[in-house]
Subunit: 103 residues, 2 copies
Amino acid sequence: MSAIAEPNRLSIIELLRDGPCTVGEIAEHLRLRQPQVSKHLRVLCEAKLVEVHPMANRRIYKLHVQGLKEIDSWLDSFRHLWEDRLDQLDDYLKELQRKEKGE
Amino acid sequence: MSAIAEPNRLSIIELLRDGPCTVGEIAEHLRLRQPQVSKHLRVLCEAKLVEVHPMANRRIYKLHVQGLKEIDSWLDSFRHLWEDRLDQLDDYLKELQRKEKGE
DNA sequence: TTTAAATATTCCTTTACAGGAATATTCTTT
DNA sequence: AAAGAATATTCCTGTAAAGGAATATTTAAA
């Protein structure tokens, strides 16, 4: 998760949403220097959020669907919060009162 | 996004998934010291991922649905990647070839 | 085979931030 | 009012990591 915390890396991910890119293209679009882009891509690769396809001289980067799916399935465990309309706070307060009486 | 990058904060979020908690309870469950928990909660609050409900002596924290929804809707823009079965790489390679012939 | 392009890596410096310890604040209880 | 919970804040220190500059590496082109 910390991989997409860095703003420039988030931008890279969002840029790649529109399709694969080479390192140079990314650097140009985001107005970053090539070495930094390479470094960020390295981190994103290790986080399985991006994958490389060496093609002759260049290296084409694209989103790694697997990694994004994992974030999605993590969010899944929270979805009930806004689908069900249960008010957790009320329940908690009642629970609290119950405990305090018990003491 | 950087709010949930920190491991302890991620744990807090996951703990609150099961319902509201007071600062002390969080500290106890996660084996963290109270001041650190307060600091993390501050960050999570500012990120709109968590909300406070002062209740007498204590402060009850719970998930802020809005913030989680925003992450979810951000992910929405990527969902077509694994729903449609389009191979972006092939398209990009063809595009690349086209450009190189043009030069 | 030398040169040039595209990308990766290394080293250095600076900065952001997490944790620890101590203290301040707020509210309750006696 | 005083004492004691529960929580927040401040100050300090160490460390991880991002950016800059220079350099190495790989592959294509001449």
